[in-house]
């Protein structure tokens, strides 16, 4: 499984969903899932079904809202859009993730020592 896709860290999916909605405007669940897959260059292992657990979580926290509507090709679908509080949360979380990733990349780029302890 090493060469396959990235497993999502806890909480990252929620952030991706928020960002997607902030960038794209109202979308249905399938649309969000597809969008994340495309953006990540199919790097993320996304079980599309997990998106709905994330959506209900975000909705319960009041960061997104949902409404039934009609898709481009005339199908009924539930559309999600980010709320004001969601945007605020997104700014905070995104800043946190950026800082964390910068720190992580710094830590991981430390050169390994070549010391030979062997006699």
């Amino acid at each position: 499984m090493g060469d396959s896709k990235l497993d999502l860290l806890q909480g990252t999916l929620d952030l991706m969903v928020l960002q997607t909605l902030a960038a794209m405007g109202p979308l249905h669940g399938y649309g969000i899932a597809r969008r994340i897959e495309q953006i990540s260059g199919n790097e993320v292992l996304l079980n599309q079904g997990t998106i709905y657990a994330s959506l209900v979580r975000l909705q319960q926290r009041g960061w997104i809202s949902a409404e039934w509507g009609t898709s481009d090709n005339n199908r009924k679908a539930k559309f999600y859009s980010i709320t004001k509080r969601g945007r605020k949360q997104l700014t905070e979380d995104a800043a946190y993730w950026l800082r964390l990733s910068i720190v992580m990349s710094r830590v991981l780029s430390m050169p390994e020592t070549e010391e030979e302890v062997e006699s």
Partner: protein
Amino acid sequence: MIDHLRRSILRIVALFRRESFDGDLDAEIASHLDLATEENFRQGMSREGARRQALIQLGGPQQAKELHRDSRGLPALEVLVQDLRYTFRGLQKDQVFTAIAVVILAIGIGANTVVFSVVNTILLRPLPFQQSERLAWLSGNNGAGGLSDVTYRVDAFEEFQRSNHSFQEMTAFVPYYSLSESKLMTHGEPRPVSFVWVDGRFFQTLGVQLAFGRLFTPEECVKGGKPAVLLSYFFWQRQFTGNPAIVGQSIRLGDEFATVVGVLPASFDFGAVFSPGLKTDFFRPIVMDDIRTWGHMLSVVGRLKPGVTVQQAQAEANVLFPQLPGAENPDWSTDLKTTVSGLQDQVIGKLRRTLFVLWGAVALILLIVCVNLSNLLLARLASRQREFALRGALGASRGRLIRQLLTESLALSTLGALLGVALAFAVTWYLAHQGTIALPLLSTIRVDAAALSMTLLLTLIVGILFGIAPGLVLSSGNLQETLKDAGRGSSEGRGHARMRSALVVSEVALACVLLVGAGLLFRSFLRVLDVDLGFQPSHAAAIKVDYNDGGSAARRGAILQDMLQRVTAIPGVEAAGVTDMLPLDRNRSWDLLAKGKVYSKEVNDDAFVYIVTPGYLTAMGMHLVKGRDFSWHDSDTSERVIIINQAAARREWPDEDPVGRLAEGIGDKDSRVIGVISDVHESSLEEASSPAVLVPVTQGVPEGAELVVRTHLPPEVLASAVMSRLRALNLEQPAMEFRPMQQLVDRAVSPRRFFVVLVAIFAVLGLVLAALGIFGVISYAVSRQTQEIGIRLTLGATPGRVQRSVLARTLRLALIGVGVGAIASFAACKVIASLLFKTDPDDPATFAFVLILLLVVAVLAGYLPALRATRVDPVTALRCE
């Protein structure tokens, strides 16, 4: 933070809106699949391929829905609900088991709730006064002797109050309740009322807030002040129908008028704290100058200054009392020997250990209940092994199965607790309304929040405790093995059987401890009842009488002689006499000294004093050892005469005949001893008799009057005849009822009876539960061994032999249990040694009786299954299994 709170609330809401959420989700998933299929189709897949790919991408609609549910609701709670639903379905199917388990649990938990309420009310909860831990009790003569010994003279109280530095405030009341009986003449027919004389600042010192009205003013507490009363809440409710307008009005008490100034709160129950069983209608302020010369009159309570301990107050009292002005007065001798104790300690007294023993007994019962239920559940588990094996095979994890078992045991214990709490409410209500048990604070007992929390805790502990054994068996066994094994009908697994036997053994051992304890207490109780009282309570009854002698001893003699003549003339009355106090009821004491004897100051020369008429001895059934009874010729003007009891004779005239001797201390002149009666138990059945003196009514001033009548008729039959005679003599005679003398004795032994009855109930319960446990284990073993027994019978074993082997098994379990129990009891009984009366803690008779009783019950419990074993028909047994 708010967002998380909002989510938590919505998750709970989601639990109740499953249907609508699920419907919405279904539609959403369907739309998702449609969109995905369409896109895949457009990318060139076949219709079917596109749909299949969509499903793969989604990761399965069912899984998606599960994920959604878990994150929107509370999965742990939903599993619990599921388990509970399953549990109740199971319990409903097995109604007999459920009923037995719930009843056993209800008794165990209910008994614990009741006893905890009692312990909590009497021992643990602070007294119902403000900062009651700072209240202290002072008793003279180091707390020994009768009321006159432990109470204080007014001057001693006042001097100590003035000079001490330990107490923020000190107050007192008069514990001679007979002095404070009166008649309410207004508001209906004359009726007897009782009140208590309290110091003017009594309620302030205790920190009691009035329901309404005001406290006594200083002017009402001095000579010539306007008489004032404070009503108790219950008297106000009963007599004045809770009408607030009574405050400020005047009521007539006997010959005087007094103003009602206020009403005490419902939470204040004087009797519950200071004199168990006493009903107080109202309170009046003590005018200290009126009783200054009356001797030892006051019970003293003080509020310690913040930070001052009882020990410090005691140290100060030791030093201060002898230095007070007036301390050289010989009458102060008991006051100088003051013991200071916490008020609560004083109220609880010797009850502490008794209550802890009771608590221990009830905990034992609960333990037995747990063991019993473990056993029942194990038996039930055995018959459900296939069900569990099947659930295991279908994918339920072992943890999930144990969780199911624990859910079941907790559900059972909760059901038991609900019923138990209902029982507890009923029992505590009953106890609180028993006026006949002389235990402090008992009337204030209720199941309160503390008791309910305790019950909740016990319910959880019990549920987990008896759920553990089946859980252990389940987790140790191999489920697959069970699936095969259970179908075979062979003997149960060895570990399983050993666990059940161990449970039964411990049950028998626990029951043994309870029974031995109860046996010893019961034996003590019988010994107490066996005590020679010095009078015969059966066929005697007393009634309070009222007369007006205008303070003249001669008139008093004439009135009482006339009254007794009329009463003895009533058919059925065998003897009648009048006393001012009854033994085991109230007492007071005076000095009694043989004239001419030289005394050291240390010796206690008190004697209980009863002021009586001729005929009282006969009416009470007291035994005159030598000398003569009083006669009506012993008058105000003739020589002073007394009758003493043997204890007084032993103390004052050892090795001499006291009849004809002179005594000092009773009244102002010397009195001649004219008779000796056998010892009477004045204040308690369990303590040795103290010296006592009888004085004729014509030569002493009685405090009230009790007419004692000896008759073989029930006293109620005589009541109206006696009452009409009394009314003929005195129109103001209040309506009173006869008190059988036996009632006084019953009351005196009521605390002991209370404990004996409770402990005995627990012991019988323990015995029944142990028997049930043995019965359960043995009959289960027999039913599992039907096949084996069938084979043995076919091979030629006689039914008698089969029966014997079953009984032997029973007896083996019982013997081990009894052995362990006997050793445990031996240790446990040392703890209750101080509660026993004339009974050794290792009384061989009690031990032997209990051990034999347990063995007999065990064999009886094993007999039924043994009988069934012999009825096994070999052919059927072999065929059906």
